[in-house]
Amino acid sequence: MTAISQVMLLLALLPGRWKIGYQFGIGMPSMADEEAYSRVLQQGAVSEYELDEASGRLGFEVIGDLSERLRFKGALGWSFYGGEYSEGGGSFELLFTHWFLLGLGALLSDSGEEVVWVDNAATELDALVYYSMPGADWLSAGGGPVYTWVSRSVNTPYSSVEGSGSGPGFHAGLRVDQLSDRTLGLPLVFGGEFGYRHQKIELDSEETGGFTVDYSGPVFSLGTYIRL
């Protein structure tokens, strides 16, 4: 029996209504140190270096009713944020790539060759409790602790330097959940959330000490679930 099927069996045996699914979202992280480092690169060598506009988020969620008013959400998620400077790919080569691929070349992530790129990745474990509003059960507000493992790497075609760290944080949010069991005859339900996360993690090795990967900021996510 796989781990997922064990979790689904356990949730099915628990009292209350439970659902399991996945979510995609975006965040607007603070990333003050990353912004400072982007200025280092811009001033010192690579003036065209750019940071991402937002962080990408995805994960698996388990949501259930603990009581008439209390709702629990457990989540295992991943967040990504970075910056890069790529060279080339803006000329005839790109034009012909698009032409040969009948325009599908636009679906390729980056046509240029990466020169400098910074990757921040976070693995997050959430345990959150929400209070559903009387008279509007589909709406709930709450929050809880988050534990995050982060890694940061600075890469070029010739070198790669990585740092990592972990630490606690918290999440507070407002959820909207579909109350019915099905959508258009399919056993799928939807939900969404707008919230704020405090997730400021300091890298912990001797070479990286002091650098903070700060995912703190507003987050927005949409989820698709199946009821158990």
Binding site: D33, A36, Y37, V40, L41, Q43, G44, A45, V46, Y85, E87, G88, S91, F92, E93, F96, T97, E113, V115, V116, R152, V154, T156, Y158, S159, S160, V161, G163, L203, E207, T208, G209, G210, F211
Partner: protein
């Protein structure tokens, strides 16, 4: 026959154009694999500090520690070692020289051994 040849050479021509247009990668970072000199100009006498920081913005080497310097061009060498005398490792480094707290030299370089 002529039509087939025209299609063949036409396709070959179109396939070769991207190769002909391939540009050499512009690499904006100066790369060093051995000790190198850092030259800077002191325009007014004052106290000079020179530090090397790694890609996590942590200072790893102090080249000049609050040294009084007279006007002129000065040169200091970085031997690619950190303050512990160990090889600093491959990666991107920030070099900053301050004169009385004001930046007089700044560069970001890559070290690859």
């Amino acid at each position: 026959m002529q039509m087939r040849r025209a299609v063949f050479f036409g396709t070959l021509f179109l396939l070769l154009i991207p190769l002909a247009c391939e540009e050499e990668l512009y690499y904006p970072l100066s790369r060093y694999s051995s000790p190198f000199d850092i030259s800077f100009e002191v325009t007014i006498e004052g106290v000079v500090d020179a530090t090397i920081s790694n890609c996590h913005m942590k200072p790893i080497r102090t080249l000049i520690d609050s040294e009084y310097m007279e006007c002129g061009v000065h040169t200091v060498q970085w031997d690619l070692l950190d303050d512990h005398g160990d090889y600093s490792g491959d990666g991107i480094y920030e070099i900053e020289v301050l004169l009385d707290g004001d930046r007089v030299y700044y560069q970001v370089v890559e070290v690859v051994k």
